[in-house]
Symmetry: C2
Subunit: 396 residues, 2 copies
Amino acid sequence: MDNFKVNGFKAAAVRSGIRGKDRLDMGLIVCDRPAVAAGVFTTSLVKAAPVLLDTARLADGKARAILVNSGIANACSGAPGMAAAISSSKFVADGLEIGEDDVLIASTGVIGEQLDLACFKKAIPALIEALSTDGLVEVSQAIMTTDTVAKMAVRVVEVAGKPVKLVGMTKGAGMIKPNMATMLAFVMTDVAIEQGCLQQMLQQACDRSFNRITIDGDTSTNDSVIILANGLAGNQPLTENSSEAAPFMAALADLTKDLALQIVRDGEGATKLVTVRVKGARNDQEAKQAAETVAESNLVKTAFFGEDANWGRIIGALGRSGAAFDQQQVDIAFDEVLMVENGLGLGSEVEAAATEVLKQKEFSVNIDLKAGSGSCEYYTCDFSLDYVKINADYRT
Amino acid sequence: MDNFKVNGFKAAAVRSGIRGKDRLDMGLIVCDRPAVAAGVFTTSLVKAAPVLLDTARLADGKARAILVNSGIANACSGAPGMAAAISSSKFVADGLEIGEDDVLIASTGVIGEQLDLACFKKAIPALIEALSTDGLVEVSQAIMTTDTVAKMAVRVVEVAGKPVKLVGMTKGAGMIKPNMATMLAFVMTDVAIEQGCLQQMLQQACDRSFNRITIDGDTSTNDSVIILANGLAGNQPLTENSSEAAPFMAALADLTKDLALQIVRDGEGATKLVTVRVKGARNDQEAKQAAETVAESNLVKTAFFGEDANWGRIIGALGRSGAAFDQQQVDIAFDEVLMVENGLGLGSEVEAAATEVLKQKEFSVNIDLKAGSGSCEYYTCDFSLDYVKINADYRT
C-alpha cells in the first residue's frame, strides 16, 4: 500500500451506518498543512448541497480536508440538506481544530433523501482517531456505490529535479456521461503550485478524461473532482508560465484518464471498454459531437454487447450527430479492420474479421469523416442486460 | 376490414423473399387517380436511397403509388442502392402504366446491405395482380420489422358537409426518437386539398406526434411519413385559408398521434407507455428540451421498468436538460399523486401511492417548473431487459 501514500496526507474510512452496517461508507482525507485546492463540478442546473458548499469554499483556493459519504447524495434535499452539509463539516473542523472553510465535502448515492446527522456525529471522531498515511485505499472503498471495484491510480513525475507524486481515487459506474457524472474523484499531490494554475490544469485534465466518458448518458447532481496540492515536494511553485508545468500537467492528465477508463471498465453491467476515435471532422467540436453520439447510442452499445459489427447503427448515429460530412466518404474500422470504405460496407469476409475484434474485452472504433482535420477520442462501454437489472432494482 | 378502406385506393402485399420465405415483406399501395402527395422525412444527414428519391419525386406534389419493403433498408448502399431504388419503382410504373415519377418508395430493415432486384422483378407483377380495396391491412403487416403488432388507425371527419376518411398505417419499434425514427407511416385519404396546405398540415401533425415519441433515442436513415389525398370526397379543395381546414387538420393530428402512440406501446421490450408532461417552462422550446431529456433518460426508463418512483432521476434529467428553472420550485407528480413539491420529496406514504401508479401499464409524469408558461407533452416507454436482448441479437 506504500504506493498509495502521499507525503503529508492521512486518511481513514469507517462504517457510519448510512448505507447499512456492513460496509465502509464514510471517509476523511486530511492534509497536515494548508493545501492549494481546485475543483471541477457538475454542470447540471440541479446541484447537490456538497457541490454548492464546496464551490463557495474553494473561492479562497485552499483546503485541508475532504469528508465524503456514500449511500445518500444529499441532493434535492433543500435547506435541511444544506444544514446537514454544514454541520457535518463543522464536526470535522472542530475535531481537527481547523477552519470550517477548509473542509470540503462530497456525497454520492440516492437523490432526495436526508442525511442523518447522528451518523456523522458518531463517525467523525472515529475517523479522526483512525487517520493514517495508509488510509487512502480505504476511502476509495468507502465511496463505492454500484461500483464493483475500488479505483485508484498513482503517478510519479519529476518537476524541476524534484520527484512529485500524485495519488487519485474515483468512483462511478452509472449516471455517467460527459460534463461530470455520478462520480467523485479526489487527487492528492505534494507538488507546489499556484492555485490559478492548478485550477486550469484540473479543468483541462477533466475535459480530456472524465468529460470524455459515457456509460448511460445521464449527468448527476453530485459530480465533483477535487485536487489538493500540499507543496511538500519542495519544487519552485508551478505557475502558468513555468517551463516545468508541462510534465506535471501530462502526469495529471494521464492519471485522470486512467481513473476515467477505470470507471468505464466498471460501468454498470459493462463487459467491454470501447474507444471511439473520430478524425477528419470539420473541426474538433464536430468531431466531439460525432464521437459522443456514437458512444452514447443505445443501439450501438447493445450491438457491442451482442458482439455484432453492425456498422449501420454507427453511421446512423453519425448521421444524427450534427457533424457535417459526405456519407459517400466515411470510413469505419474496428481496431485495424476496415469495414466501411467511402460509405460502403466491404462485405462478409471483413465482417468475420470485425466480429473477432468485437469479441475482445477492449477495442476501438475508428471513424474517418474526411471533411477536415478535427478529431476526438471518446470512451464508452457496451450496454448489457445487467445494466437494466441494476437500474430497475437500484433502490429495492 | 371495411373500416380500413378508402375510396379510390387499392393495395396488396406479398412474400418477396427479401426477409426469408415465411413473411409478408413487400407491399404496394395504388391510387386509381393522381393524388396530391406530401412527405416528411428523416432529418439525419445520412439518408437512405428511398428518402432521397421520394424527396425529389415529391417536388411536383403528386403521386399514384407507394412501393415498400421490409428486411433491407437500402441505406448506405451507394450508387447500386440508388439504381435498385429507381429500377424497382420502374417495375411498378411499367406494370401500372403510370409515370415513374408518380411512384414513391420506402424501405426498412438492415442498413448497409444491397437489395436483390430479382425479388422485386418477381414480386411486383404478383402485387399488381393482387391489388384490392382490402389490401391496406396486409401492407401494414408487410412493413413490420421488430414490431410485434401491425399498426393502423382510421378517422372519419366532415369537411364542408362531405364525409372525409383517413386511413393510416405505421411501423417502428426501435431506433425511435424525435425527428422521425426507423419508422414508416402512410396515410391515405379521399379529401380534396391543395398540395401546399397538405404539406404544411402533415409537418404540423408530425411535429406533435411522430416527433414527440422516443423509444431509444436513435434516429434512422429511412424515416418517412407520406400522405396521399385523392380528392374523391368531393369537397371544395382545402387551402390554407379554408375555414373547413381545421376539422381535417384535427382529424389528421389525431390519427398521427394514435399511430405514434401505437409505436411507443410496441417499443422494443416496452411494457409501459408513459406520457411526460412539462408545464411552467420559460417557453415551449425549453419545455420540449425538459420533457425530451426525461423521456430519453435510460436511468428514468429503467426505473419505470422496475416500477420504482425514483424522482431523483427525473430531477437529475431536468437538471441537465438545458431548461432554466429553480430547483426549489419544481413539482413532480405521477398521474395525480404529487410526489415532489417545491423541490422536496413528500415522503414514504406518498411514495407508496406513486408506486401504485407506476404499476399501471400507462401513466403520466407531470412536471411543473414554475418558471413561465411553456409546455410540452412527450411519449416514451420503459427500458426493459428485452430491449437489450432484441438489440444485441438483431442480426444474428
